[in-house]
């Protein structure tokens, strides 16, 4: 098995076991188990008080809505040539045309679907791998920790974007490969965070109490520790979406976009050499990426402030 696949394999086997986890520990399910300290509702209310967080959430909803409903309102095929290349924004093409004469606005709408999907799925992969590795390392400690920390350290030595670039070059510039590659290279920071959180939780009294009462390890990890470790994980998941969107852009910019699927990154990558002739073909997709990353960062900050009272005053 290649080194590339091993982290995924770890995640898969962990998932398989975790599915078995709760049923095995069903006998201890009625134990007095500590609930998550900050209930979701309180966090939501707190989130509502953060103007920037709410602004980010609104922006994000608008962007997602535009990519979902846009095609029903604006009937232009993003890959179809509709006019002269480099036509400036006018009544025909609201945001102009690109180097092939394709409509930029339509590209934005359809490209957003791909880019946002890549962002969300890649972030999901990042978090699943990162949380699995971090939880196992932090909870069990010992040789398991040493091994997983070594693996994490190894992945941190490789610049994520360059690693993703090599993977996509070798395995082909398809949207699925790109998504997977971004997820596979980005997990170490989530793993470190989860590990620290689990190490902290492991020594807390309520975990010790559950353990003393005979709760199994998988039960403790999934039902007791994980819910308590969730707030920072959610924050890092939100931020991971932003990073993944930026990576999709970066890869496309280096010519590693999927040429058959319009995405914001691809639009920039394909038009980059003509920026002096047609600023609009590059500026608008870049602005779209900027807004999307800004939106998820604001939401992430808002959640962070809501679940982390110590930082709230800042």
């Amino acid at each position: 098995m290649s080194t590339l696949e091993s982290p995924l394999a770890v995640a898969e086997s962990e998932n398989a076991k975790s599915a078995a986890g709760p049923s095995r520990s069903a006998s201890v399910a009625e134990l007095p188990v500590a609930k998550a300290v900050s209930p979701t509702r309180a966090a939501l209310r707190q989130f509502g008080k953060s103007p920037s967080g709410v602004a980010g959430a609104i922006l994000l909803v608008l962007l997602v809505a535009a990519t979902i409903f846009g095609p029903f309102i604006y009937h232009v095929d993003p890959l179809e040539i509709v006019g002269m290349p480099f036509a400036p924004p006018d009544a025909d093409a609201l945001l102009g045309t690109d180097y092939l004469g394709r409509d930029v606005l339509s590209g934005l709408i359809h490209g957003g679907r791909a880019t946002l999907t890549v962002g969300a799925v890649a972030a999901l992969i990042t978090i699943v791998i990162g949380v699995s590795v971090g939880a196992l390392a932090g909870f069990f400690g010992g040789w398991m920790d040493s091994l997983l920390v070594k693996i994490t350290e190894f992945f941190q030595v490789l610049p994520p974007l360059l690693f993703a670039m090599v993977l996509v070059t070798l395995f082909g510039a398809k949207l699925s490969t790109i998504t997977l590659a971004i997820g596979v290279v980005s997990w170490p920071s989530a793993a470190r965070l989860t590990r620290a959180e689990f190490m902290r939780l492991r020594d807390l009294d309520f975990i010790k109490a559950s353990r003393a009462a005979g709760a199994g390890s998988w039960h403790l990890i999934l039902r007791v520790a994980l819910p308590n470790a969730l707030p920072p994980i959610i924050v890092s998941a939100t931020l991971a979406i932003g990073v993944a969107i930026l990576f999709e852009g970066g890869l496309s910019f280096l010519g590693l976009g999927d040429p058959n699927t319009m995405s914001w990154g691809l639009m920039i990558g394909q038009n980059r050499n003509y920026v002096l002739d047609a600023w609009w073909a590059v500026t608008f997709p870049g602005a779209a990426i900027f807004l999307a990353v800004l939106a998820v960062s604001l939401v992430g900050d808002g959640i962070n402030d809501a679940v982390n009272p110590r930082l709230r005053r800042r």
């Binding site: 610049p159 360059l162 852009g249 910019f253």
Partner: protein
């Protein structure tokens, strides 16, 4: 003495990590779709039948995978990272030519980012709810969210056509080559835009980090002690508070080096800066795998080197670590 032992341990760890990177590279070549020899030769390299035959022999592709791995490692240890059929020269030479330019860019950016980011953070920590502090927060969010290649293109647009006061292309003036000091100044002038573009992302992150840390440190007991001693405010801020606030920043700078390097690759392609980034871009276009693999390896070398330097700086700043607490 303890420092030497510590350094030795770090170097041994580094060697192990680099070996692992080589093994990864080997695995990637062999898991990639298609014949490994095609990968090694590069799809677009236009390798002839003879070349392919000689490659098969050199890399022992008819032997078992384990033997092939050892052949590969052996070659690398002799400094043979393969041959780029697109550039028509050994990969190692290519990297050696391009590395300095990338290092200049990366170092200029990191220095700029740390200095500006820290100063912004310190200034905004003085009044965490003031107007300036909010402005820094907004700028830092924007700097983080803007894709570096996009800001690069916008600046290229601005300084390339709208307001042409800075060079936007290459590393020096090729039309009117200069000598000596003039050449150096010319290179520095060419460096401004690329390094500023790259620094922007990190200024955003460091100013944020510096702000949070400074707010923390400014409420520390020893800062109150410094004030109770009647020290000038500048001494309180820069001697007593900032040095403490720098510790976590140094850690993050070290951790971010991989991202810095990747950012440099993107920025270089925007401004045609003749470093590894251009090399990466061309290698991707030509599917020049040996070059790409070598770039990945050497980027790992740079990251590890940066980590060791970070560790030393950390020790320089914090006597608690220096005393061998770890």
């Amino acid at each position: 003495m303890t420092l030497l032992v510590h350094l030795f341990g770090k170097l041994a760890n580094a060697a192990a990590l680099l070996l692992a990177v080589l093994v990864l590279n080997f695995c990637l070549i062999h898991t990639a779709p298609g014949d490994p020899v095609q990968v090694i030769a590069g799809e677009m390299g236009g390798a002839s039948a003879e070349v392919i035959a000689s490659l098969r022999a050199k890399y022992g592709l008819d032997h078992s995978l384990i033997e092939q791995l050892f052949t590969y490692l052996h070659n690398v240890l002799r400094g043979d990272f393969g041959y780029s059929y697109y550039f028509n020269q050994p990969v190692l030479g290519l990297i050696a030519q391009r590395l300095p330019a990338t290092l200049y860019l990366a170092l200029a950016s990191v220095v700029m980012a740390v200095v500006i980011g820290t100063l912004l953070g310190v200034a905004s920590a003085r009044r965490p709810n003031g107007l300036f502090s909010h402005a820094v927060t907004v700028v830092s969010l924007a700097g983080y969210a803007a894709p570096v290649f996009w800001t690069g293109l916008l600046l290229l647009l601005l300084f390339g056509s709208v307001w042409p006061i800075l060079p936007v292309n290459g590393m020096s003036d090729v039309v009117h080559p200069k000598q000596g000091i003039a050449h150096l100044l010319d290179v520095l002038k060419h460096l401004i835009l690329p390094s500023a573009t790259l620094a922007m992302v990190f200024v955003a992150q460091y100013s944020r980090l510096a702000r949070v840390n400074m707010i923390d440190v400014l409420s520390a007991d020893y800062v109150r002690t410094a004030r109770a001693k009647g020290l000038p405010e500048s001494v309180v801020i820069f001697k007593h508070a900032l040095r403490n606030a720098l510790i976590p920043i140094v850690t993050v700078v070290g951790l971010q080096f991989g991202n810095l390097f990747a950012g440099a690759v993107l920025v270089e392609t925007v401004y045609s800066w003749p470093g590894m980034g251009r090399l990466v871009y061309d290698s991707i276009l030509r599917r020049d795998y040996p070059t790409l693999m070598a770039v990945l390896f050497f980027s790992a070398v740079l990251v590890i080197a940066a980590n060791i330097i970070t560790d030393l700086v950390y020790r320089l700043i914090d006597p608690r670590i220096r005393a061998g607490a770890r």
